[in-house]
């Protein structure tokens, strides 16, 4: 009752502070902050065609936010969502262009599955290293990110490169692998619905299944979980694999729903954005939905703001907001645990 209000109020308050900080930064950079904020809002919500684009930006953030949240709930800080996303994206792109002869929904489904699977494996590896050898996941997932970045770069420039193009990208996926567009005249695909479904499913998994109960137990007190019969090491790699699979899905949906191919550096760091999204969403699947909406809209609105403000406010201002959110929420949550 009272506590749940506070749970809700805190992220909102932190977000407001973050936007205020951004306004100050805008003012310092020489643009009048109020018109800039208005343009930001306009670009995110009220300009024609703004909303579907905002939702398009929301989709990958929702996936990566969920991926980070699952890890955190199990006590695993998965910083490797970016790498899992890249691997999943490339794998699904490969299924998209290399596998032919499948009917439309099946082809897309297979591509999604393979993307999730490869992302899952990419999360499972640091999971198993943690569970069996005690290697800290923060270190290993960062390493795995680097491997993923260079491996995908290599594959897309040397092995699966589109022969008809100069840039490092795969051939276009067959249309049978494309995700259907949700609304005529927009770029918004059913990927958004997939992301929302993933959030719902995850919520159910965590709150209403024994596996979810045990996952949360391991995250909250691994020693007590062990005494209660939970196989902690299994849960560690299991949660990391699930987290990675959701990260892989994020990449697959971007590829199959938006770009229809993999090209190098297509992700502006969605995996890392997921950390802020999960924090703002309080690791709750439904909270993450709202957090992803907020950040997605913000990212979209910032592009518009950049184009209409004089002098232009760079759209990277969104990272200021993200940074402030992470800074405050991490500090407050950490203090709570210590106290």
């Amino acid at each position: 009752m009272k506590t749940s209000w506070r749970l809700l109020l805190l992220p909102v308050a932190v977000f407001v502070v973050a936007v205020a900080v951004a306004a100050v930064v805008i003012a310092l950079s020489g643009s009048p902050p109020l018109p800039a904020l208005a343009a930001w809002w306009e670009g995110a919500v009220s300009a024609p065609g703004a909303l579907p684009e905002s939702l398009l930006n929301t989709t990958p953030l929702l996936f990566t936010g969920l991926a980070v949240a699952v890890g955190l709930l199990a006590g695993q800080f998965n910083i490797g969502v970016e790498g899992q996303l890249l691997m999943g994206a490339l794998a699904s792109a490969w299924v998209g262009f290399a596998v032919s002869g499948l009917p439309a929904p099946l082809h897309a489904l297979l591509a999604l599955l393979v993307g999730a699977l490869v992302g899952g494996i990419w999360g499972w590896i640091p999971g198993i290293l943690k569970a069996w050898r005690g290697a800290h996941e923060v270190i290993t997932t960062i390493m795995m990110n680097h491997i993923a970045i260079y491996l995908t770069q290599y594959l897309v420039t040397k092995v699966w490169k589109d022969p008809n193009s100069m840039s490092p990208q795969t051939p276009e996926a067959l249309p049978s692998a494309w995700l259907p567009i949700l609304a005529e005249g927009t770029r918004l695909s059913v990927g958004l619905l997939l992301a929302l479904a993933t959030a719902l499913l995850l919520w159910y998994l965590l709150k209403r299944t024994i596996w979810g109960y045990e996952l949360r137990a391991v995250g909250a007190n691994a020693e007590a979980a062990r005494a209660a019969g939970v196989r902690v090491s299994r849960m560690i790699w299991g949660s990391m694999a699930l987290s990675g699979a959701i990260g892989g899905l994020a990449g697959a949906v971007e590829v199959l729903g938006v770009h229809h191919r993999y090209y190098d550096q297509f992700s502006p760091g969605y995996g890392f954005d997921g950390i802020a999204v999960a924090l703002l969403g309080n690791n709750h699947p439904l909270g993450v939905v709202f957090a992803a909406l907020v950040f997605g809209a913000m990212k979209n609105g910032a592009v518009y703001m950049q184009s209409v403000t004089v002098p232009a406010v760079p759209r990277e201002i969104t990272t200021v907001v993200q940074a402030v959110v992470i800074f405050f929420l991490a500090a407050i949550r950490f203090q709570r645990r210590a106290g």
Partner: protein, 520 residues
């Protein structure tokens, strides 16, 4: 009472409410310099809350605190420490992974931002350690220490900051008797130095044996404050019965002292342990070739000085530490290598000796904690439809049967007082008759009536066919409850006493290795 001694701590008209619970209701308290002031009361009476107010953990809703006559308003434990008020909590606050020295540098509840300088801490700590009799490896992780060593580290932390007022919340709840005596010797030393001690305890003998004054709390209010003795060392002026009566109140029942022995229901052992060897976890010895049996209907006690192998025995029995040699049978089934989940399925129930470490998840609700460990037994729905409603219902049954003071079944577990948390952990294991109960310090932090209720519940389970193994440092507890008592010394089960030989002196001598046991 020597009234010339100045009042050091004065709390006036303190009120503190948590939601619907009035934890402290107009409490006033004066403590004189150089005295030991005991605070007693039932589980949930408000003792810890009052001490937390004094230590600046949270502010009172109303009322004032003064120190040496000056009104103070501590906004954090750090501020309290600055003013010379320190507390050792009911649940220790050491960081297990950090070394002893690092813990000392960190100070009170992680409140001071800058740790104390290392060299300076080490020098003073070594000096003070001699005084309080702490022998510890400064670089060992704090989690590897025994409970009494951890407590001494906590005390050292306060002394390093030169605390003049020392608050102890149930300091002897898990201390073995010998360590408890040493602890009180230390308290007297502190009061002689002019320090002032506030002591929260459920053990009335400690009050009668050591306190100068006592305050009795009931349901958040002071029901009595009175002198215990004229002068330090003098005979107590009050007796345990008077105190017990004040604690439970007019309508309350005094738990009567009686033996709770039972009989074997079957000649086939329920638990059979043979030649068990477990490497050391929290003792020097580990477990060295221990063999014994526990029969249905029987409570088997395990006595021993702290660190004689109790932790290793429990861990091996519940499946948390693999033995390197030997076998464990449950009803003729070899479970030596079975994981905890398999043992739980077979009806093994475990009351963890440290509820915060292993027994519960503090951030969860009471209901979710009530299901912990039983969640796979089918009572709370299937794998894909876990029912919170049923967890709540189960928690409500525990609350009713063990008189847990909880605002609601879905209240946060951490909102329960220490003793009430313990009742949930115990109740969970005993709501249905276990096949085998492994209990470590089952009455840790419980008041007299609840202790009795838990003893009865264990005995009742055994009457229904359970077999129980109870590890306790409290010899009185073992003597009232256990049919046979095995004594661990240096990792070996030196003897099992029963019948005529179930006597304090006999067991005490075995515990320190003074006599060679005949059996085992």
């Amino acid at each position: 009472m020597n009234d010339s001694r100045p009042v050091v701590v004065h709390m006036e008209d303190i009120c503190k409410r948590f939601g619907a619970v009035q934890a402290n209701n107009h409490i006033s308290l004066s403590v004189r310099q150089g005295t030991i002031h005991a605070i007693v009361g039932e589980n949930g009476a408000g003792k810890t809350t009052l001490m937390n107010v004094l230590y600046g953990v949270f502010p009172p809703d109303s009322g004032t605190v003064s120190l040496y006559g000056q009104p103070v308003r501590f906004r954090s434990p750090a501020e309290a420490l600055q003013a010379g008020v320190g507390m050792v909590s009911q649940h220790y606050a050491l960081i297990p992974r950090l070394s002893v020295l690092e813990n000392l540098m960190l100070g009170g509840e992680g409140a001071s931002l800058a740790p104390l300088p290392r060299a300076q801490v080490l020098a003073r700590a070594q000096e003070l350690a001699k005084v309080i009799g702490l022998q510890a490896d400064w670089d060992a992780p704090a989690g590897a220490l025994s409970v009494s060593q951890q407590q001494k580290v906590e005390i050292l932390k306060l002394l390093l900051r030169d605390a003049r007022v020392l608050i102890f919340d149930e300091p002897t709840a898990v201390l073995p008797p010998a360590d408890a005596e040493a602890f009180f010797a230390l308290l007297h030393r502190f009061t002689e130095e002019g320090r002032t001690v506030l002591l929260v305890t459920h053990k009335l003998q400690e009050v009668l044996g050591h306190a100068d004054e006592v305050t009795v709390l009931r349901a958040g209010e002071v029901v009595a404050t009175m002198p215990v003795r004229e002068a330090p060392g003098a005979e107590p002026q009050i007796d345990a019965r008077t105190l017990a009566r004040l604690i439970v109140g007019e309508g309350g029942v005094l738990p009567e002292e009686e033996l709770l022995l039972g009989k074997r229901l079957d000649d086939k052992p329920r638990l059979r342990v043979e030649g068990l060897v477990v490497p050391p976890i929290r003792s020097r010895a580990g477990l060295k070739a221990v063999s014994f049996e526990v029969y249905p209907g029987e409570v088997f006690g395990v006595a021993g000085v702290d660190g004689s192998g109790q932790a290793e025995l429990i861990d091996a029995l519940v499946g948390l530490a693999p033995p390197t040699q030997g076998r464990i049978w449950l009803n003729d089934e070899d479970i030596t290598c079975a994981p905890p989940s398999a043992r739980l399925r077979k009806g093994v129930r475990y009351i963890a000796e440290d509820r915060h470490l292993r027994g519960a998840i503090l951030g969860w609700s009471v209901a979710e904690n009530a299901a912990l460990g039983l969640h796979r037994q089918g009572g709370f729905g299937s794998a894909l439809s876990l029912s919170f409603a049923r967890m709540k219902e189960f928690a409500q049954r525990i609350i009713a049967r063990f008189a847990v003071r909880a605002p609601a079944a879905d209240a946060p577990f951490s909102a329960l007082s220490g003793g009430n948390q313990q009742k949930v952990v115990v109740g969970r294991a005993l709501m249905e008759t276990p096949v085998l109960l492994i209990a470590g310090q089952p009455t840790r932090g419980l008041d007299a009536a609840s202790t009795r209720a838990v003893h009865h519940a264990i005995r009742e389970a055994c009457r229904q066919g359970a077999a129980a193994l109870v590890v306790s440092f409290d010899l009185d507890e073992l003597l009232t409850l256990c049919d046979r008592i095995g004594v661990l010394f240096d990792g070996r089960l030196v003897d099992i006493v029963e019948g005529e030989r179930r006597r304090r002196e006999e067991i005490g001598a075995l515990m320190v290795g003074a006599v060679k046991g005949g059996g085992a």
